[in-house]
Every structure is written in structure tokens, then in C-alpha cells.
């Protein structure tokens, strides 16, 4: 029974990792860069939602919508201002720029006088409700996280596979130049995917906020989402969720059964084992260039 309870709490934590990893994977799938600022985008999303509900007095759901819209706009702006000018530069230069964006976002939030350095609780209608089933306890906020993650993942998966834009994004990610020649507006697609990914980050932010607290450093959880994305195979949307769940469960179980300290590094041990054993992840595709 204990194992089951631990697994359930691991799964709900894993869904958060999966949601953040979903943002990584979206950007990686479409532009083949990794956004190290994903955690910070999530933090901004949580703050935007918080601002909408507490200061504007809007109901929770309106706050969520507002936060998602605000972050989508923010993602578009970031892409236009700092990522488009360096399109085609070495991959790690782009990664460094996203690290810089993360630093600036975190720094700016802390600089807002009287707001940025505090820690807030996030009010949500379903907060503190629990469901009990045969001795197992699960919080409503965890159920909401799980449900939203599954739905978002399904929508994104379908969008990538069946819509024209999704297929165009896949083409652009495999060969930008060829995609450009085929008449695909590569730059506009990149902007779009940054907007979508920031919106997903906002969703993750407003879902995580009721479970933990809202503060400027909550974006560091993004560092735990990397292992999730890698385990699932970067570039695979269902993989991100499965990877997130796996990491969450391993973390929760190792926190209970292994000595203190293993909980924090469990995710990284798993990802190293994965990289050495099966570098492309669970669902990653293997391709090899022929010369």
C-alpha cells in the first residue's frame, strides 16, 4: 500500500516534470535548440497568474487564461528579439542566449520592489481537496495536473502529426534550408513554437503554483525536467510525459527507501544511466548521416 501511495505522489510530481519537459521538447522538435529558460518562463507564468488573481481580483480560471496569453506573447517577443537574429549560429551559442534570458527573467522578477523577493501561496478552487480510495490519498490539485498533462500532450501530439503547421515544423527541424526552399516560413514557425512553448510553461506554472509556492527561484525545477526530456528521448512528445513520470516515481521511491540525499540526485543518476545505455531515450528516433 505504501509503495502504491508513493507511486501516486511520484506520478503527480512527475506530471509537473513532464509538463515542463513538454515545453523543452516542443522547442527542440521544431527548432532543435534547447531552451534553458523554460523553468523561468514557468516562473513568470505563475507570477502572471498570481497577479491576475490577487491584484486584479479575477477568478482562478480567468487568471490561468490571462497568464497563458501573456506568456505566449512574451515567448513571441523573446524569439523575435534575441533568437531570430542568431538563427543558424552554432547550437550552443543559442543555448547560452536562452541561459541569459533565464538569468534576466529571474533577476528582473527579484528586482520588482516589494514583490520579487517574497514567497506567495497561490489560491485555487480545488486546493486542499483530497480524494480517498481504499486507503490511498490523492490531492485534487495533483489530479488536475495529471489530467491537464495528458490532454495537452494529446493535443500537441495530434497537432504535430496531423496539421499542416505541425508537419511544416517537423520539416523545418530536420532541414531548415530545405524547408525554406519548400516555401515553409521557417522564421515565423520558430516564433510560433516559442509562443506555444511559453504558453505550455505558463500552464505548468499555474498548475505547480498551488502545490508549492510562487517565488523567483521556482524555475530551478526546470533543471529536473531535463532528465525527463532526455529519458523520454528529446524530440518525442509522449516521451517527455513518460520520462517525467518515470523520474517522478523514481524520485519518490528513492526518497523513501534510500538514504537521505538520494532523492535529489535520483533524476540525474537515471539520466546518466540512460545516456550511457540508450542515448536516444525511450522514444527517440535513431538516424545516421551517410557520407
Amino acid at each position: 500500500m505504501q509503495v502504491l501511495q508513493l507511486t501516486i505522489s511520484g506520478l503527480s510530481q512527475g506530471c509537473i516534470y513532464g509538463l515542463i519537459a513538454l515545453g523543452f521538447v516542443l522547442i527542440y522538435k521544431a527548432t532543435e535548440t534547447v531552451n534553458f529558460a523554460q523553468g523561468e518562463l514557468m516562473m513568470l507564468g505563475a507570477f502572471a497568474g498570481l497577479a491576475a488573481t490577487t491584484w486584479l481580483g479575477l477568478p482562478y480560471w480567468a487568471g490561468v487564461v490571462l497568464s497563458v496569453l501573456a506568456l505566449a506573447a512574451f515567448g513571441l517577443v523573446v524569439e523575435r528579439l534575441v533568437l531570430r537574429p542568431i538563427l543558424g549560429q552554432p547550437a550552443f551559442a543559442i543555448v547560452m542566449v536562452t541561459i541569459g534570458v533565464g538569468y534576466v527573467a529571474r533577476g528582473l522578477v527579484t528586482m520588482v520592489p516589494g514583490v520579487g523577493t517574497e514567497t506567495y501561496t497561490y489560491p485555487a478552487p480545488f486546493k486542499d481537496e483530497v480524494f480517498k480510495a481504499g486507503g490511498l490519498v490523492i490531492g485534487a490539485e495533483h489530479l488536475v495536473v495529471i489530467g491537464t498533462t495528458v490532454v495537452l500532450c494529446a493535443i500537441m501530439f495530434a497537432a504535430f502529426r496531423y496539421t499542416r503547421i505541425g508537419v511544416a515544423m517537423q520539416a523545418a527541424s530536420q532541414n531548415q534550408l530545405a524547408a525554406y526552399y519548400m516555401g515553409i516560413p521557417v522564421r515565423r514557425l520558430n516564433g510560433l513554437i516559442w509562443g506555444i512553448s511559453a504558453a505550455v510553461a505558463a500552464v505548468a506554472g499555474v498548475l505547480l503554483a498551488p502545490i508549492t509556492f510562487v517565488h523567483a527561484n521556482m524555475g530551478f525545477i526546470g533543471l529536473k525536467a531535463f532528465p525527463a526530456a532526455v529519458v523520454g528521448g528529446f524530440g518525442s512528445l509522449p516521451g517527455a510525459i513518460v520520462g517525467g513520470l518515470l523520474i517522478g516515481v523514481v524520485e519518490s521511491l528513492s526518497g523513501f527507501y534510500l538514504p537521505e540525499g538520494f532523492k535529489d540526485i535520483a533524476a540525474y543518476v537515471v539520466v546518466l544511466a540512460m545516456l550511457i545505455g540508450k542515448p536516444n531515450g525511450l522514444f527517440g528516433e535513431t538516424m545516421r548521416k551517410k557520407v
Partner: protein, 358 residues
């Protein structure tokens, strides 16, 4: 305008290309040697720190700048070197021996970390090193019998054979000397077949492999050299700080080290030291400017990361060669004097090439 007429193949790999360089590096050497008389003790301490970070920069430059492998876990190597030195110094080992052991230990750690590099590349490698960074940080925190854990570890002064480096100038000379030796070693490495193999791997793994370069051997070697240099810097760092705790070797520190080489100029030896000077000078410049800013802005804790982030973004957007790029462009301008064209360093418009196919 300077024109070097080459009459000998050795001229291509000579360390000093012409008399001007000999002169200016000579001046630099004299200034560095006379620094204890020229600068205050505080400035001397800062110079030692620049030398230490410069050695880290050299290590990262070998790995990231010349072999094209990215590490977001270099603070862990710094930590391995620092803790090895602190523990051995406490046992009374003479510092040349304990430095060598610290370097060797870091290099071995580097080989272990480099193992995934044989199978993965690009962003996956970055994440593997990130994971190693977290794990090593946790090991340092938890292995309390050896490292003192979160309560920290005091470091003795460097001593060897009854001779103690106690004063700031002595320590400064040690740091500078080791930095110069490390620089010459890396410069030499780069003109050997090994260094050329590194650069070939950076530019194209497939063509390097086709030329008969063993990717596995050279990538591991690059990791070992890079980690060894960082371990050397770590050993000096331990004596500089005099007190070690695990929170000095976090992943954030690794990211800052990476920023350092990017701001200094990726792929140049000058860049390592320019970046180190930047990393040391920026917090001081910010705290010097803070009183002149509005109170709400100047006292904000977020000021430093914001400025860091903005500078990093600015460099990558407008000056991908980093601070070295400024110097390089100025030099080119003078060398070509009337013939410098504005578009000479303009970036070509390009689209991203997929890294997924390998």
C-alpha cells in the same frame, strides 16, 4: 600595415609571430612580475583570482572552444581539485605533490565524466555533464567524514619542505606562474597533432573520423586535459578561499564559468583570461555603480544576474567572438591599416544545420 614574409615552415607554428608580439608580451611579463610593488594587496588578491579563473577558462577553452564539447559541470572538477588539495594539505603533504595529485584526481574524474561523451553529443552531452555536476555536488555534501559536508572545511596555507607561502605576493607569484605554465602548455598542445585533432573534431566529427582520428580517444583526452587544468585551478582556489563548502561548487557556478568563456571569446586563449577578468570585475563594477542608481534598483538582489544575462545576450548577438573579438578587430584594423572593410567580420546569413543526424 604589417606584412610577414614567411621563409620557413616553422614560422607558421612559432609562438611569437613577430617582434611586436615579443615586445608586448615582454612588457606584460614585466608588469606581472612587478605587480606586488605596483598594486595594493587587495588588487593583488584580485589578480590572483583572475589567474585562477583564467586557468579554469583555459580548461574550458580546450574542451568547449577547441574540441566543441560543452560541459555544464565544470564547477564539479573545480570542487574535486579544491577538496583534494584541502584534504592533502591538512595531512601535511608538500604542495607540489598535492597539486599533482589534485590534477590527477580531477583528470580521472574528467575521464569518467567524458565516457558518455563517446556516445552522445551536443545538448545530450551538456545534460550528462550537468547531471554529473549535481551528483558530485551531492557527494561532496554527503561525504562528511572526508569533506566536512555543509559545515565546511578549513584549508591550510600551501607549504612544502619547511617553506610556507604565507604572504599575498608569494601566493600571487604561485598563481601567476602556474597560469603562465598552463597557458604555454595549452598553446603548445594546440600546435601538436593532438591539438589539431581536437579542432578537427570540433569542426566536423565525420570528416575527422574519415581522416583517421579516433573520436573516442581524443574526446576522452580532451575531457581529461580540461578537467586536469580545472583541478589545478581548484587547488589554487582552495588556498585562495581558505574555507571550502559545497555551495561554492554548484551548477550555477558551472554556468557562470561557461558564461566566462563565452564573454571572453570562445576559441581563443586570450578569451580565457579576458573572461576571467570580466567575471572578477563585473560584481565590483556593479557594487561601485549601485550607490549612483535609484535606491530600489541599486539595492535589488536581482541586479547582478540581470546585468550578467544582458551582457551574455549582448555578446552572443553582436560580438560572437567575445571580448577577444574587440581586440582582434582592432588589431586587424591596424594591421591592414588603410584597407580594413566594414563588412569583413559580418556574419553570413545561415540556416541551422541539424545535429540530429550524426
Amino acid at each position: 600595415m604589417r606584412y610577414i614574409f614567411k621563409t620557413d615552415y616553422d614560422q607558421d607554428i612559432r609562438l611569437f609571430k613577430h617582434g611586436g608580439q615579443k615586445f608586448w608580451y615582454g612588457v606584460l611579463g614585466i608588469v606581472l612580475a612587478a605587480a606586488p610593488w605596483l598594486f595594493s594587496e587587495y588588487q593583488l588578491a584580485q589578480l590572483s583570482l583572475i589567474a585562477i579563473y583564467g586557468i579554469v577558462g583555459l580548461g574550458l577553452m580546450v574542451l568547449t572552444g577547441f574540441t566543441g564539447l560543452v560541459s555544464i559541470g565544470h564547477a564539479a572538477f573545480l570542487g574535486v581539485g579544491a577538496y583534494a588539495e584541502a584534504i592533502l594539505a591538512a595531512r601535511g603533504w608538500p604542495f607540489p605533490v598535492s597539486f599533482a595529485v589534485a590534477v590527477a584526481l580531477s583528470a580521472i574524474t574528467g575521464v569518467v565524466v567524458g565516457l558518455p561523451a563517446l556516445r552522445v553529443r551536443g545538448i545530450y552531452l551538456a545534460i550528462a555533464t550537468l547531471a554529473f555536476g549535481f551528483i558530485l555536488e551531492e557527494i561532496i555534501t554527503r561525504w562528511e567524514s572526508l569533506t566536512g559536508g555543509n559545515s565546511g572545511l578549513a584549508v591550510a596555507q600551501p607549504a612544502a619542505f619547511g617553506w610556507k607561502l604565507e604572504t599575498a605576493p608569494q601566493f600571487y607569484y604561485l598563481c601567476t606562474l602556474l597560469a603562465i605554465v598552463a597557458t604555454l602548455a595549452v598553446l603548445n598542445l594546440l600546435r601538436t597533432p593532438t591539438g589539431r585533432a581536437f579542432v578537427a573534431i570540433r569542426d566536423s566529427e565525420i570528416s575527422a573520423q574519415s581522416m583517421g582520428i579516433s573520436l573516442a580517444a581524443y574526446k576522452t583526452l580532451s575531457f581529461a586535459i580540461s578537467a586536469g587544468l580545472t583541478g589545478l585551478a581548484g587547488a589554487l582556489y582552495a588556498h585562495k578561499l581558505r574555507f571550502l563548502s559545497p555551495d561554492q561548487f554548484t551548477v550555477l557556478q558551472s554556468v557562470e564559468l561557461l558564461m566566462m568563456v563565452f564573454v571572453g571569446g570562445i576559441g581563443s586563449i586570450h578569451g580565457a583570461f579576458l573572461g576571467a577578468a570580466f567575471l572578477i570585475a563585473l560584481p565590483q563594477a556593479i557594487s561601485a555603480l549601485a550607490p549612483h542608481l535609484p535606491a530600489s534598483l541599486g539595492s535589488a538582489t536581482g541586479l547582478q544576474p540581470t546585468v550578467f544575462g544582458l551582457i551574455l545576450i549582448g555578446f552572443i548577438l553582436f560580438e560572437p567572438m567575445g571580448m577577444f573579438g574587440w581586440w582582434f578587430k582592432a588589431r586587424t584594423y591596424l594591421q591592414l591599416f588603410p584597407f580594413y572593410r566594414r563588412g569583413m567580420f559580418r556574419r553570413q546569413k545561415s540556416f541551422q544545420k541539424s545535429d540530429r543526424l550524426r
